[in-house]
Symmetry: D3
Subunit: 230 residues, 6 copies
C-alpha cells in the first residue's frame, strides 16, 4: 500500500516535518510518500491561497493516481478537497475533516488551535461544513500577548485556555506539520492532541485496506462528459 501525502503549499521544510511523522506512524507497514506543491503558495491562509494551490495540487493527483493507492491533503484548510475527491478514483482524505471527525469520537467537545486569529472564522466555517459545529468548543489562536513566546508555548497556552475556559476535552492542531508538538502537548495536557496528518493517514489507510473510495454517483460524480478537464 502506498499513500501520497500532498502538502499543498511549497514549503519543503514543512513537507519534511510531515514526512517524518507520517513515516513514524506508518512504521514500515505501508509506504508514505510526501510531496510539496512546487507551484503552490508559501503557506495557505486565505481563499486566494486555496485557489493558488489548486493547479499544482491537481497536477500532483493526476500524475500520481496510477502509482498510489490513496491521497491525504495535508493542510488544515482542506483546500480543494471536494474537487480532488471528485477527480480521483482512489480515496482522498482531508486532514481537517479526518481530524475533526476523529476528535468527535474521543470526548464531548474539541477545540482547534490555529496559527493566527484571523483564520479562526475559516476553521468555524469548515467545522460547520463537516457537521461537527455542535461539538466544536472553540477555535483559539495565539494573540499579541503571546508574541514573545516560542511556538510550542503559544500553542500550549491556547490549548490550556481551550480546556479550562471552553471545556474542550480534545485538542486538534490547526496546521499540518506540527506532529512533533502533538506528542509533547498530549503528554503535558493529559488530553488527546490530534495531528491532522496522522488522522488523515488513519482514514486513508483504512479505506485503501478495505477497498472503499469516494462515491461517484452524486456530489462527487466528476466532470460532465461534455465538459472534460483539459
Amino acid at each position: 500500500m502506498k499513500i501520497l501525502v500532498i502538502n499543498p503549499n511549497s514549503d519543503a521544510q514543512m513537507t519534511e516535518l510531515i514526512r517524518k511523522s507520517a513515516e513514524a506512524f506508518a512504521n514500515g507497514e505501508f509506504e508514505v510518500i510526501c510531496k510539496s506543491n512546487p507551484t503552490g503558495p508559501r503557506f495557505i491562509d486565505s481563499y486566494w491561497d486555496e485557489l493558488a494551490c489548486a493547479p499544482g495540487l491537481i497536477q500532483l493527483v493526476k500524475e500520481n493516481e496510477d502509482q498510489v493507492d490513496g491521497f491525504v491533503i495535508a493542510c488544515q484548510d482542506d483546500p480543494n478537497l471536494d474537487a480532488v475527491k471528485e477527480l480521483a478514483s482512489k480515496p482522498v482524505v482531508g486532514i481537517a475533516e479526518a481530524s475533526m471527525k476523529i476528535a468527535s469520537m474521543l470526548g464531548h467537545r474539541f477545540s482547534i488551535i490555529s496559527t493566527s486569529i484571523p483564520s479562526i472564522p475559516n476553521h468555524e466555517v469548515q467545522a460547520r461544513k463537516y457537521h461537527v459545529d455542535p461539538v466544536l468548543a472553540s477555535v483559539r489562536a495565539p494573540g499579541e500577548e503571546l508574541r514573545d513566546k516560542s511556538d510550542e508555548e503559544k500553542f500550549m497556552a491556547c490549548a490550556r485556555a481551550a480546556i479550562e475556559d471552553d471545556r474542550a476535552e480534545v485538542i486538534v492542531l490547526g496546521c499540518a506539520g506540527l506532529a512533533d508538538l502533538a506528542k509533547r502537548m498530549q503528554d503535558e495536557l493529559g488530553v488527546p492532541v490530534l495531528d491532522g496528518v496522522i488522522c488523515g493517514l488513519i482514514i486513508a489507510r483504512g479505506l485503501v485496506q478495505c477497498g472503499i473510495s469516494t462515491s461517484k454517483i452524486g456530489r462527487y460524480r466528476g466532470p460532465h462528459p461534455d465538459n472534460p478537464p483539459a
Copy 2:
C-alpha cells in the same frame, strides 16, 4: 453606478441572455456590463469546473475593479464566491446566495429547479452553507421521463411537482440565463419565480448605493501580506 455581471463560463450565448434580462431590470437607472469568461469551461457543473473557471474569473475581477462599483457572479453554483469576496474591495454577490436569501423572505419554503439530477446534492450543500436549509423544500431536476419535452416544459413540470408534492411556495431557478423563463413560469404557476441574476443585481445595486461592501476583518480579510497573489 456600474455593475459587472460575470458569467464564469465561456458560453457567450448564455451571457447574452443574462445581459438582456439584466438590462431590462436595470432599466437605464444604472449600468450593467455582462462578460463571459473566455478561458472558462463551456458550462459549470462540477467542482472541477469551478476550479477551471477560477483563473479567468479572478482575471476579470482584477481587470475591472477600478472601472466598476460591484460584481455579480452569474452562476447558480456561486463558483469561487468566497475568493472573490476576499479579493475585491467592491461588493460581490453570488446569485445562489442572493436568490436563496430573497426566496426565504417571500414564503414558507422554496424549491430550486436544477438542470440535472446529479447536481441536486451540490445545491443542497450550498443551501446549508447559506443557512437556508431549514426552508429548502426540495431541489428538483427533470428526469428521464421528461426527456422529450422542451426546456420550458421540463422546468415547469419540476416546479409544479415542487409546489404540489414538496409544498414549495417560491421557486428559484437553478441556472443563470433563464430569466426569460422566470416571468412566464411565474405567471403560469402563480408563485414567485426567482431568477438569480436579478436577485444578485438587487443586492449588488443596493450595497453600492449605500456604500457597503464585504467586511475585511475576518473571514474575507484577504491574502496575507507575506503571501501576496501573483
Copy 3:
C-alpha cells in the same frame, strides 16, 4: 415607483430621521413616503407594544395599498410582519429580516446592537425565526456602566465589544432611525454597519422593480373567505 416606509410607532421625530436617510438612499430614483402610526405606542419594546401598534399599522397598509408599490416596516422588531405580508398583495419587507439576511452575505458573523439589555432575547428569537442564528455573533446593548455616555458613544462601545470579544464582522443597528449613526460608525469601525431601513429599501425596491411579491399559496395565503377581515 413609490415605497411606503411605515414607522409603526407614533414618534414623528423618529419618522423624520427615517425619512431623511430613506430619501438620501432613494436619491430621487424612486419615491419614498414615510409615515408614523398615530395610534401606535410611543416606542416598540414589548410584545404588548407589537399588538398595540397593529391596528394603526394595518390601517396604514390598507389605506395606501392602491397608491404605493411596496411597504417597509421600519422597526427592528418587525412587528406584525407576518400579518402584513399576508394582507398586502404588494411586497412587504421587515427591516430586521432584511438587515440580518444582508448582513449574513457580508462577513462570517454579525452582531446586533440593541438599545436596551432586556430586549436582547427578542432579537435572538427573531434571528432564529429568520434562520440566521448560526451566524449571529451576539446581541449587545449598553449597560449601566455606559449610562453617562452619548447614544453614539454607547452604540460605538457595544459595537467595538462585539467586534473584539464576539468576533462580529458586520454590525446591524438594532433600531430604526439611527441611519445618521450608521455611516459614522462604519467609518470609525472599519466594518459594514447596516441600518435596517436602508436594507429594507434595498429589498423592497428590488422586488417592486422585478415584479415579485409574497407567495400567496401557503403561509401567507391570507384570511379565509368565510372569515374576512372587518
Copy 4:
C-alpha cells in the same frame, strides 16, 4: 385552584366542547372556566385572525387575572401567546406548545393532524419556534379526496397515513375542541392521541400547584414603564 381556558374565537359551540372535555379532565379536583372571545373571529386560521382575536383575548386575561390562578389559550395556533405570557403574572399555557412538548416525551416523532392543507406551514413554523421540529414527523390535513367523509373519518385517515408513511408514533390534534375525537382515535390507532386543551391543563395546573409562573426578567419582562398598556 381555578384555571381559565380561553377559546380565542367567538364560536360558543366549540367552547362548549372544550368545556366538556376540560371538566372531564379536571374531574372536580380543580375548577375550569371556559370562555369564548365574543369579539374574536369565528375561527382562527390566518395571521390576520390572530391579530383580530387579540383585543378580546387581552381583555379576557385582564378582567380575570385577579379571579383565576392560570390561563390556557385553547387554539392550536397559540395566538398572541407571547403577549399574554408577558402581560399576565399568572401562568399562561398555549395548547400548541404544551401538546407538542408533551408529544415529544411519548415517542420518537409525532405528527399534527390539521384541519386544512393551507395551514400546514403555520404548524411547521410553530414547531420550529418551540424547537420540536427535529421530532415533527409531519403535519397532515385532509385533502380533496376525503371531501365526502365525516370529520372523524378525515382525521383518522390522516393519522393513519402519518403513522404508516411518516412513521409518526404520537398524534397531536391540530385544533382545539376535538377532545371527543381524541379518545376514540387513540383506541382505534393504538398510539397516543393528544388533545391540546388537556395538555395545556396538565401544564397549567401543575405550574399553579407548585407556584411557578413565567419568568419576568427577560423575554417576557412586559411593557416598558414609559410605555404602559392603555
Copy 5:
C-alpha cells in the same frame, strides 16, 4: 391515582427529601410513593453509575407496575429512561426531560445548576437529546472558589452567575432532592426555579389522569418476542 417516584440510587436520605416535597406537591390529591434503589450506587454521577443502577431500577418498575399508575425516575441524569419507557406500559417520566421541557415554556433560555463541574458535559448531552439545546443558556456548577460555602450558597452563586452572565431566565436544579432549596432560591432570585421531581410529577400525573402513555409502535416497542427479558 398512585405514582411511584424511584430514586435510582441507594441514598435513603435523599429519597426522604424527595418524598417530602413530592407529598407536599401531591397535597393529598393523589398518592405518591417514593422508593430508593437498595442495590443502586450511593449516587449517580457517571455512565457506570447509570448501568449500576439499572438492575434495581428495572426490578422496582416490574414489581410495582401492577400497583401503580405511573413512574417518575428521580435523578437529573434520567438513567435508563429509554429502557424503562420501553418496558413499562404505564407512563414513565424522567425528571431531566420533564424539567427541561417545562423550563423552555417559562422564559427565553434556562440554565441547569449542577452539583459538580465534571458532570456539565453530561447535562449538555442530555439537553441535546431532548432538543432543548437551543434554549440552554448554560450548565453551571460550583468551582473550587466556592469550596467553603454551604450547598445553598453554592447553588445560589451559580444561579446568579447564570442569570447575570449567561442571561438565563429560568433555573433548573441539576439534582433530585433539592426541592427544599427550589422555593427559597426562587424567592430570592425572582425567576422560576424548577425542581425536577415536581416537574416529573406534573407530567406523570397529567398523563395518568387523561389515560395517555408511551407509544409502543416504534422507538419504545419493547423487547422482541424472540428475545424476552429474563
Copy 6:
C-alpha cells in the same frame, strides 16, 4: 497490536462471521480477537437488550484490558458505548459511530440498511447523537413485501431504494456480521457499502497506532472516587 472485537450478544455464529471479516481486514498486520458475550441476549434489538448485554460486556472489557490495546463494540446499536469509553483507558470504538462518520466522508448523504422496520427510529436517534443526522438520507429496512426473499435480496432491495428514492450516495449496513454481504453489494450497487466492524477496526487500529485514547477529563472521566465500580 491486539484489538478485541466484542460481539455484545451471545450469538457465536455471528461472532464467527465477524471474526472472519475482521481477520481478512487485519491481514496479519495486527491481531484481532473476537468474543461473544456469553451472558448477553441472543440479539440486540431493544433498549432492554442493551441493558441485558451490559454486565457481560463490561466483564469482557475488564478481563481483557491488560491484554489488548483497544476495543471495538461490534453491534450497530453501540450498546453501552459511553460506559465502556468511560471505563476503559484503552481506545474504544462503536461500529455505528465509526461507520456513520466514515460514511459522511465518502459522499453527500448515506443510508443505513437495518434488519427490521421497528428499529428504524433507534438508528435515527443514534445518527442525531453522533451529529450526522443532516447527512442521513434515510434508514430503510425490508418490509412485508420482501418476506420471501433471501437476506441478500432484502438488503439489496432496500439499498437500491435508498439510492434511487432517497438519493443516498453511501450505504451503511445496519448490523454487524454482514461483512460478507458488503463486498458483493458494493460491487453490484457501485457505491461504497460500509461494514461497521471494518470501520470500527480502521479507527481503533489507527488510535492504537498513534497512542491516542478517550479523553478522561470530562464526559468520560469515569466513576467518582467515592463511588467505585463493584
